[in-house]
């Protein structure tokens, strides 16, 4: 085998056309990254792309290997300085984008181009790590088509690119059913296979396990979705929509913290106002789940804490879906351990003297805890505290400064001050954070709860009634709870754009879009262990495990491949009209004892037949001439084929 193999990818130089397609594919997959990368790196990568394009157009030579290595070393060093690591998720992805540019600078052969195309597949994947939204998916689908068309173009350099693009589309269309089968049946496993980079979940937003002045108002400026809830039947009224999250016990004068929590056996409460619903929770990298107060059942494998939180065993790092039930008016559970009561009364010594004095004053004139509570609520209702998304910064005496100096704040200030006052007055109290409200989508009736609905309220323990919810913000600013954030906040505060009341039509459009996005989240992005099991059960496969799934997957794929092969060959098995006519001719002659010998060509056979059957000699010669012309000549015109068919039909042999 001395001669070079003309199909071997190492041997074939890349044509500028194919390079152009590769660059297009790279631009599509790198574009979303460009917005996340440091500007200098975006500029460098674009320069490398443009450089390679210029080399191809001008038929110039590629830069030397040493120059490319030098650029690589400098760029990697700069990435290190920017991120302080090369192995984090973000820095790793940024390096991949950089390599796509560097690879182009040594791209000469078909093989190099194919490797760069595979790199494109990686870059598609890295985009999905940031967002799996519908627009990203559409963009990445387009990129996939471009990459595939590039590969087809590399394999068929002489073929017009339109045909190659069509082939790429056909291949992807054929691949789609196989992909669907794999997607549905590939056994899903829970959790990561090994430790992820430190910054893997850095970008997730949500409530944290502590609350200090300013951090909820910060969160409330985000329009991002926290979770969605689908109710069976009518959703609860805005007033009832308290979504319980972390419960904060420990106060150091400025910050409230969760402190240690206990898992408690779950005893479903009795009561009225039952709601059954399914929550689709966005990943927030914390273990707690949100439930409408008060939870009456738990999702599978979730647990319950002694302060009424629903928690999962592991942090929620992917969008999660769970079903549960809640009671709007549960019968009160009056039990509480002595230690938790002591904890709910604890305060840092010395701080906030003015608030303490106020609390002492309430305590002295009151007969029981309920009366203290009434006084506190009256204080909040009447003292004209302001509600603002931009609260003034507070110092060490945060409660005093809020209540007596600044006199305006956000829900964290209200709840913090309220719980402080209650404890100072000897009433056990704690802070509860979570979300309040949510918007009902007019299209699919699903309630969407955003980060801007983040809220903090309080619970006090009353002797005869147990823990009771008190919302000091609602007492001071009644509109907060009934109308949502946007109308309660002062005019001029930076309310998220779409929360502004003037933009109704825009909100309508967003409702439609979000209904679609929700379905996408639930059915595509939320397809995990649970959904897979549900689907298999509804298809009649009970107790599925990975063995059954794998067996089903393999057999369906095997059948699929065979069907595809049979389908693609079937269209060939049918002989063309010329061949059909000839076969009919041979059959006719065969019927009168003139079988064609296997090795006999059409000319020899027809001459022999004409000698044997002189009556039909003219017709036989004509048929043979037409057949030879159509088969071996350049003469396959439609009329000629029709004439051949007609003559064979009319041939009469005795």
């Amino acid at each position: 085998m001395s001669a070079a193999h003309p199909l071997a990818p190492e041997q074939r130089a890349v044509a500028s056309r194919d390079l152009g397609w590769l660059l297009l594919a790279l631009l599509l997959v790198a574009a979303p990254h460009a917005l996340r990368m440091p500007w200098w790196l975006t500029l460098l990568v674009l320069t490398l792309y443009a450089w390679r394009a210029q080399v191809a157009v001008a038929r110039a030579i590629l830069p030397s290997r040493w120059l490319v290595l030098a650029i690589a070393a400098l760029a990697i060093g700069a990435v290190y300085l920017e991120y302080r690591t090369l192995f984090g998720r973000t820095s790793g992805i940024v390096l991949l984008v950089l390599f796509s540019g560097l690879k182009l600078m040594e791209l000469r052969t078909h093989r190099d181009a194919a490797v760069a195309a595979f790199l494109c597949y990686f870059l598609v994947m890295t985009n999905l790590l940031y967002t799996q939204s519908i627009p990203t998916t559409l963009l990445m689908g387009t990129a996939l088509l471009a990459v595939t068309a590039t590969l087809v173009g590399l394999s068929a350099p002489q073929r017009p690119m339109r045909a190659n693009l069509r082939t790429a589309g056909l291949l992807l269309a054929h691949a789609a059913p196989a992909a669907l089968v794999l997607f549905l049946l590939f056994p899903r496993v829970q959790g990561p296979l090994w430790g992820l980079p430190q910054d893997a979940y850095a970008a997730m937003t949500g409530l944290s396990d502590n609350m200090s002045p300013g951090n909820i108002s910060q969160l409330a400026q985000s329009d991002a979705i926290a979770f969605r809830a689908e109710f069976e039947g009518e959703p609860p009224s805005p007033r009832e929509r308290y979504w319980r999250g972390p419960v904060l016990w420990d106060f150091d004068g400025r910050t409230w913290r969760m402190g240690p929590g206990w898992i408690a056996p779950f005893e479903p409460p009795q009561g009225v106002g039952r709601y059954e619903y399914v929550v689709t929770l966005e990943a927030h990298n914390r273990a707690w789940l949100f439930a409408l107060e008060s939870a009456a059942s738990l999702p599978p494998r979730a647990r319950y804490t002694n302060d009424g939180m629903v928690v999962s065993a592991t942090p929620i790092r992917t969008r999660m879906r769970y079903a549960l039930a809640s009671l709007a008016e549960p019968q009160q559970d009056t039990r509480a351990s002595g230690s938790s009561i002591r904890r709910a009364l604890d305060l840092p010594p010395g701080a906030n003297p003015r608030a303490r004095a106020l609390a002492q004053q309430w305590r002295q004139g009151a007969q029981d805890e309920t009366q203290v509570l009434m006084r506190a609520i009256a204080f909040f209702r009447d003292s004209r505290l302001g509600y603002t998304l931009e609260p003034p910064l507070l110092g060490r005496e945060s409660v005093d400064e809020f209540l007596f100096d600044a006199r305006e704040g956000f829900c964290e200030h209200f709840s913090s001050a309220f719980v402080f006052l209650m404890r100072a007055a000897g009433v056990p109290a704690r802070v509860v954070t979570g979300y309040q409200g949510g918007e009902v989508n007019s299209v699919d009736r699903i309630i969407t709860v955003r980060q801007s609905d983040a809220h903090a309220w309080a619970e006090v323990h009353l002797g005869g009634r147990g823990w009771v919810r008190v919302d000091p913000t609602a007492a001071a600013v009644p509109g907060r709870v009934d109308l949502g954030l946007s109308r309660a906040a002062r005019q001029g505060d930076p309310v998220p754009l779409l929360m502004r009341p003037q933009l109704e039509w825009l909100r309508g459009m967003r409702s439609n879009w979000e209904a679609l996005a929700h379905r996408w989240n639930v059915w595509v992005l939320g397809y995990g262990v649970e959904r897979q099991r549900d689907l298999m059960t509804s298809l009649g496969m009970r107790d599925v495990d990975w063995r059954k799934l794998t067996a089903a997957m393999a057999s369906i794929l095997g059948v699929f491949t065979l069907v595809l092969l049979a389908w693609s060959l079937r269209r060939l098995a049918r002989p063309d009209p010329v061949q059909r006519a000839w076969q009919a001719f041979c059959r006719k002659l065969g019927g009168s004892g003139m079988a064609r010998a296997p090795a006999e060509g059409p000319r020899d056979f027809s001459e022999r037949a004409a000698r044997q059957l002189p009556a039909a000699a003219a017709a036989i010669h004509a048929i043979a001439a037409l057949y030879i012309g159509a088969r071996y000549g350049r003469d396959a015109a439609r009329e000629r084929v029709a004439e051949l068919e007609r003559r064979v039909r009319e041939l009469r042999v005795a």
Binding site: M1, A3, H5, P6, L7, P9, A114, V115, F118, Y121, F122, V124, M125, L128, L129, Q132, T137, L144, T148, V152, L154, S155, A156, P157, Q158, R159, A163, T167, A168, L171, L172, H174, A175, A178, A179, L182, F183, R188, G191, P192, L193, T318, V524, L525, Y527, G528, L557, F560, T561, L565, S568, L569, R571, L572, A573, P575, A599, G601, Y632, A636
Partner: protein
């Protein structure tokens, strides 16, 4: 015995799905199309493996979707690569005789009866490495001319020909072998710098060499490149725009015997080469010539057919 069985034609024909050589039009049934991943194909598989692990690790549902779409693409590419070759019908055309040392031009007709085109087909002659790549449009017959170098006179059989494709993605290589029944006649290589045609030998019945006999004009025939310019009928050319050559007949033409026995000092192959060169020169000079070989004799004549018959006899001469 097992070795005999393994080497035997039956096993071979079972294994390759055909027995050699094959006559007429050979259809590459899917049973005789082999397919294996290329190195790029393995690299692609490795890429998919990494994408899958990443999807599992980050529980990335769209990552799964991407990985599985690419896996499906690989599967479909396998089918499409097979399809690009399967059911291609191969037949051979006539190969014009050549002189030893020249390349025999084997014509293969690739009949694409499918409704789709078959791009980037490699046709490769296994023994010599002669190869070419061609694109076959849908429902068309393509012609591939394999230039296979020859070295010895006689019949030259085209041996195994490989057809290969990596279309559409280059992840798989599908190939198939055909051993068509096609052969090419190889004339002895004419020995250049030949002796001038030998002197007339009256005893052997050869004739006068002096003239071209332009007295016995017998008609016009189509011009052939080797015709001497002064035999071209220039008047007729001017009239009809067609190159015509005047033909002369009869005893006026020179007659020449090319005789094996005239070259007693040379070995067999050199004798045949010398005779081949003489045949060419005599034909070009427009002489009437005869050829005498041990066991064969061709009466003096001239023209394409006569020249071919003489050269064929030289090519197939089986003298020791």
């Amino acid at each position: 015995m097992i070795r005999a069985l393994l080497a035997g034609p039956r096993l071979r024909s079972w294994f390759y799905g055909y027995g050699a050589p094959e006559r007429g039009s050979v259809v590459l049934g899917h049973r005789r199309v082999y397919i294996l991943p290329t190195r790029l194909g393995w690299l692609y598989a490795a890429t998919l493996g990494i994408l899958l692990v990443g999807s599992i690790n980050y529980a990335l549902q769209l990552g799964f979707a991407l990985t599985f779409l690419l896996a499906g693409l690989g599967l479909v590419a396998m089918v499409h690569t097979t399809r690009n070759l399967a059911r291609l019908a191969v037949s051979t055309g006539r190969a014009e005789p050549v002189f030893a040392g020249e390349a025999a031009q084997f014509r293969l007709y690739l009949d694409n009866r499918a409704r789709y085109d078959r791009p980037a087909l490699l046709v490769r002659h296994q023994r010599s490495g002669a190869q070419l790549v061609l694109d076959l449009p849908a429902r068309r017959v393509g012609e591939a001319v394999l230039a296979v170098p020859t070295s010895r006179r006689g019949w030259f059989a085209l041996t195994r020909v490989m057809f290969e494709t990596r279309f559409p993605l280059g992840l798989f290589r599908a190939w198939s072998y055909v051993e068509p029944e096609a052969r090419c006649l190889v004339y002895p290589a004419p020995e250049r710098a030949p002796l001038p045609a030998p002197a007339p030998d009256t005893a052997a019945g050869s004739a006068r060499t002096h003239t071209q006999g332009n007295d016995d004009f017998s008609g016009l025939r189509a011009y052939q490149p080797q015709d001497p310019p002064r035999h071209v009928a220039w008047k007729a050319v001017a009239r009809t725009d067609e190159m015509l050559t005047k033909q002369f007949s009869g005893a006026a033409g020179a007659e020449l015997w090319l005789d094996w026995a005239q070259l007693p000092t040379l070995d067999v192959e050199r004798r045949l080469s010398r005779l081949a060169a003489w045949v060419l020169d005599a034909e070009q000079a427009g002489l009437r010539y005869g050829l005498r070989l041990p066991g064969a004799e061709f009466a003096p004549d001239r023209g394409e057919a006569h020249r071919g018959a003489c050269l064929q006899a030289l090519a197939l001469h089986e003298g020791a």
